[in-house]
Subunit: 347 residues, 2 copies
Amino acid sequence: MPRLAQENIANENRPLTLRDVSEASGVSEMTVSRVLRNRGDVSEATRTKVLEAAKSLGYVPNKIAGALASQRVNLVAVIIPSLGNLVFPEVMTGISEILDDTDLQPVVGVTHYKPEREEAVLYEMLSWRPSGVIIAGLEHTDASRAMLRAAGIPIVEIMDSDGEPVDAVVGISHRRAGREMAKAIVQAGYTRIGFLGTKMPLDHRARKRFEGFTEALAKEGLEIADQEFYEGGSALVKGREMTEAILTRTPDLDFLYYSNDMIGAGGLLYCLDKGIAVPGQIGLAGFNGLRLLDGLPKQLATMDACRAEIGREAARLIAAHAGDTSAGGERHVLTPKLQYGATLKRR
Amino acid sequence: MPRLAQENIANENRPLTLRDVSEASGVSEMTVSRVLRNRGDVSEATRTKVLEAAKSLGYVPNKIAGALASQRVNLVAVIIPSLGNLVFPEVMTGISEILDDTDLQPVVGVTHYKPEREEAVLYEMLSWRPSGVIIAGLEHTDASRAMLRAAGIPIVEIMDSDGEPVDAVVGISHRRAGREMAKAIVQAGYTRIGFLGTKMPLDHRARKRFEGFTEALAKEGLEIADQEFYEGGSALVKGREMTEAILTRTPDLDFLYYSNDMIGAGGLLYCLDKGIAVPGQIGLAGFNGLRLLDGLPKQLATMDACRAEIGREAARLIAAHAGDTSAGGERHVLTPKLQYGATLKRR
DNA sequence: TAGATGTCTGTTAGCGCTATCATGCACCAT
DNA sequence: ATGGTGCATGATAGCGCTAACAGACATCTA
């Protein structure tokens, strides 16, 4: 039985529908729909009438019904490991910057670096039938890859380029980033090199940097002299602690490579506290190019991960392919730039 | 005309529906729906059959259709000013922590501190008919407040408690935070006090802290001796620059109150660089209690804004009232704790 | 054995919108 | 007048799912 106007009056607190606006303005639901979506020809008089009615009622359209009827959803799923990492909010900023000029809307899902959570988040997101997916990394469970492939929408994997994407990819090569840092360190004359990083075995990008780093050192006939790993806690404090630990154990180290800028900054502060000459006695470098840390006593050597640009480019791809069944398999590899800062000698 | 099986075979790439699973497993759509939602009684044999069919097809349910039919959406809209601020990711973490144990899912919208963007984001979010809204601050446009009131779902305003909420509120009193900091500073014997903050007129919480701060000073017969504002750029660098500027202009200041920890940290690093004795010659304090900064040379005096706890409590309220038409107007005011650190003398 | 009860499955009718086609009407050229 | 051409609006039929009810059948009770 179709709902009658009488019932509407009876139940004051029922959420508003197109019909309410239609009745209030004296035109059909279809015409109201056209006005509210700015689609099709509607006379100026009707348009005004409808808009006024909608506004005075406080009508908010139901996108769920709209999406179901039109088979179009203006959401873009963005799946990242964490929001606490500073890196990811920056990627998000890049994404929003581009999507703000379209009618697309990012929706964020967080995996905490856990593949099974990624799978669950992806499933949840895809069940809303988004117009595209931006997902961090190239490593996913088989089930996740299958879902991505079967979704029939543009997929952009971001941050990393070392591996086989499902569809398009926008990122940097972390292997290469590790290699280049190694080369710069060796070239500067350092030989007793320590590595400090996270314990997370599932941070594939950190792992790849480490692999590239050791590989390039090996080519120069060098090996990592010592290493130290951490998990949890404040990165700045951990950076200090790890630096103290590694230098106590292996005092003759002349370079410390940190897997991220925050622990690098902790190490830098530790060295300065202890009166260790940086970069003379010990050189330091991190990774990410966090602008957040710009005001430290010395600028830490680092390598920019192109976070915002990656976000922008991924969003551009999604926007360009919105409505398509794929992002066209494009491959955008950005080149991270080494920033010497004041903690890595130039030669 | 209802879609026929034949058509399905013809069009290979069509997205899967319940009907496909139903046909593949030989039971009705309704039974498939029951299995996939774990609702109602289904025999073990049928359940297995259906799950296998769904899995082998790679079926992902369409929540849009499900939500429309059931009039239930498991999303919670979370509306915050920014993701770059560090404070908000922490709130998000608290929210997720609680919602992860429910079937609710947070969806984030970012306003960039702009009321008109808040209005737009809110409209967009409400059009998805979420089960609840968590929104930062108590200051909204009239239209936004009207939408919130009319939504007929639980609303929790967070971070701030100085004002009139639409429904429930979870936060701290920033006026009081400012007052307490002022009292502690005066009590420690400082008298020539400078204030450094953001230029943003729309950061109401920072404004309230400032107001509380000056008000409490006035009670002690004191006034702010000088002040300095900034916008944009790296907060650490800005903290240094502002500190230099204010101390050049007013060299006899003996305390600097920063409106956030990041610029406070910049100021601290500047003072240490210049050999200024902290907290002897000059005392320093910030606001937020960012754990991120724990490894600095000296621990900055600050006041914890209870971010994670606010997130958790807000999420708990939403979860408790999911399905209701309001969050019951509860009022949770948390008490920020002063942390003296090593930059504010104790008396 | 009739009826009551419980377990499982299916049928029907929407949810609130939009795509699509149909229609009414004014306006023009013929 | 005839029949095109626009333009503005309305009627109809779903989108893919679920609530609510309606069976079918087996098992139990008296």
